[in-house]
């Protein structure tokens, strides 16, 4: 456990290495998913193409969307995009920066899937086995095969155990040919992607460094501000709840005492902390009534104004109405009245 914590700390301390770590993990996960997947070519003329290209292209699309879904910053981007202008201007450069960095990270798993698929070769072999050039690789002039028949025979190339066209074209020759094409495509794709990544990373300092520094700072600021705001609201909610409940208990104890025509018992000066914490409720009946009342009739979200801080515990506060023109979302959450 300690080792994991230290690894996380190391990765988190340096933002760059954290991002590299995430990218590495996603790449490994994508490769692992491919190797765990059981590829099963249908070996039928029109189904092959659909299956092969489907396996090549649909999972990357899903992985790309998943990359966005799992990224916490997506909601931050959406919020910043849709918020009303208010007193703070909106900078489209910041939005673009946030979107680009999220898209770059989400692209890694799909690119790894497509590369691994092409380098493995099964998908392309399955999809394009009916397009093998029989004239150059086999005996096209072999009699007895119509066009449709030949396509059906060729479609069985990926399934070695049911392949019956050995005189037409040898299975190994066709598979080698298709796999060679697939691997060549795969390495070209890998080279293209790394070249693109290199260009994107290296052209930025040459052209837009000042704008980049600005966008990076403000996107980080928006992220931190949102987190700090959530923390402050959570602390506030805690205090609010504490005072609300305290006032409820005190109110309950005073009501019950009044109903029994006893004056509210003042805690003796030297009663100690425990007696104070009892909040005036000291027997089973009172406690049961308090619990029933809490369930049936919760107190309003409205704390009483503060009196002098005294020992009978009537500390409270009042919410002043809000005037400042701030984003409506925060106002509504703040002044919620149940």
């Amino acid at each position: 456990m300690d080792k994991f914590r230290m690894i996380f700390q190391f990765l988190q301390s340096n933002q760059e290495s954290f991002m590299n770590g995430i990218c590495g993990i996603m790449a490994l996960a994508s490769a692992q998913m491919y190797s765990a997947f059981d590829f099963n070519c249908p070996c039928l003329p029109h189904y092959n193409l659909a299956y092969g290209l489907g396996i090549l292209l649909v999972p990357p699309f899903i992985l790309f969307l998943l990359g966005f879904v799992l990224n916490n910053n997506v909601s931050m981007l959406a919020e910043e995009w849709r918020r009303p202008r208010g007193q703070r201007g909106k900078d489209p450069a910041v939005l673009r920066y946030m979107f680009c960095s999220m898209a770059q990270r989400a692209m890694i798993a799909p690119v790894v899937w497509v590369s691994v698929t092409l380098l493995d070769g099964k998908c392309i072999t399955c999809a394009f086995c009916t397009s093998v050039p029989v004239e150059t690789l086999g005996n096209a002039s072999h009699p007895g095969f119509s066009q449709g028949e030949m396509k059906r025979v060729l479609a069985r190339i990926p399934c070695k155990d049911i392949y019956d066209g050995q005189e037409l074209i040898a299975n190994e020759v066709a598979v080698r040919y298709l796999r060679c094409i697939s691997q060549a495509l795969g390495w070209c794709f890998v080279l293209l992607m790394t070249t693109l990544a290199f260009l994107v990373r290296s052209l930025r300092p040459c052209f837009t460094q000042a704008a980049f520094l600005k966008s990076r700072y403000w996107s980080h600021y928006i992220d931190i501000e949102r987190k700090l705001f959530d923390e402050t609201c959570a602390e506030h909610a805690r205090s609010f709840a504490k005072v609300c409940i305290q006032q409820f208990f005190e109110g309950m104890s005073t009501d019950l005492a009044a109903a029994r025509c006893h004056p509210p018992r003042k805690a003796p000066a030297d009663a100690g902390e425990a007696a104070e914490k009892l909040l005036g409720i000291t027997d089973q009946g009172t406690m049961n009534t308090a619990l029933k009342s809490w369930h049936r009739c919760k107190p309003p979200l409205h704390l009483h104004p503060p009196a002098l801080p005294s020992s009978n515990g009537w500390a409270g506060k009042e919410q002043s109405p809000t005037h400042t023109p701030v984003p409506r979302r925060e106002m509504a959450a703040y002044c919620s009245q149940v």
């Binding site: 690789l137 190994e172 691997q183 890998v190 040459c206 460094q209 501000e225 705001f229 503060p306």
Partner: protein
């Protein structure tokens, strides 16, 4: 546990050792990818050469670019190269030093791929099986030229029906593998001798310049890291102040009941100092622009 912590701290502290670590990881990844990759020679006359040489040279280019991308110092070097002069002179020796150290580290993984490929032999057998002299091998000596090309192209495929029991195939294969391994070991020897000579002879030339270049390249790297950390710290405090201001303007009496704000009120003066009087967007933007267009001189006397 303590040992791990020390290792991690060592790697974090020194950016050069981070780069060495990444270089090592990429070299290991290179070997792993080669062993996982299923080499499958097409065994067709013109395709063999293209496939064999492609597998030998295209992945190293991709690995080289990866090595450049993953190395943080390449960005630092590019920024230093392209920044406007401003108040701080640019030292080309520093930029050259950084460039050479980045290149050396990025070339390790491609070199390892090429060497492993040559020592394994499959690529060269696939690429050059059609180029051997058929007269040297008994099984191919008395066939027509077209057929000889077809047969030689099928040498890399052991399981092909024509080649399965052909002893001449094994002879050609051994011959090519021998050349391939000789080439691989020679390249390895040359690279190691070159690295050895570079490290040994470097102190004989311009040691003082080298020390200076190394120091200032390290400085530029650290300065950028600290700038980023300071910006992070500043944005955190900025956000904190902004939120406090927001809350204060909404509610006056929140201070009576919140646990944390009174504490932060006491720390407010310390934070004012850290914010350096920068409290709005325009001032921050101006600061960032100034940092880029006119870096301060290296003089803090």
């Amino acid at each position: 546990m303590d040992r791990f912590r020390m290792i991690f701290q060592y790697f974090q502290s020194n950016s050069e050792s981070v780069m060495n670590g990444i270089c090592g990881l990429l070299a290991l990844a290179s070997v792993k990818i080669y062993t996982c990759f299923e080499f499958s020679c097409p065994c067709l006359p013109r395709y063999n050469m293209a496939y064999g040489l492609g597998i030998m040279f295209v992945p190293p280019v991709a690995l080289f670019l990866c090595g450049l991308i993953l190395n943080r110092q390449s960005l630092v070097m590019l920024e230093e190269w392209r920044r406007p002069q401003g108040c701080r002179k640019k030292d080309l020796a520093v930029i050259r030093y950084m460039c050479s150290s980045i290149m050396q580290r990025a070339l390790v993984a491609p070199a390892i791929w090429i060497i492993v490929t040559l020592l394994d032999g499959k690529c060269l057998i696939c690429a050059f099986s059609g180029s051997v002299d058929p007269e040297k091998f008994v099984g191919f000596a008395n066939t027509s030229p077209v057929q000889v090309q077809q047969l030689l192209a099928k040498v890399p495929c052991k399981d092909d029906e024509l080649m399965r029991n052909n002893t001449s195939r094994k002879a050609v294969s051994r011959y090519l593998r021998c050349w391939s391994q000789a080439l691989g070991w020679s390249i390895l020897l040359i690279l190691i001798v070159a690295a050895f000579l570079t490290r040994w002879l470097r102190p004989c030339f311009n040691q003082a310049t080298l020390l200076q270049a190394r120091h200032w390249s390290n400085y530029i790297d650290i300065e950028q890291k600290i700038f980023e950390e300071t910006c992070c710290e500043h944005s955190r405090l900025f956000a904190h102040k902004c939120i406090l201001h927001f809350f204060k303007s909404m509610q006056q009496e929140i201070k009576l009941h919140s646990f944390s704000l009174p504490r932060e009120g006491e720390k407010a003066e310390g934070e004012e100092d850290l914010l350096q009087g920068i409290t709005d967007q325009d001032q921050m933007n101006k600061l960032l622009k100034m940092w880029y267009y006119e870096k301060p001189p290296l003089d803090i006397s």
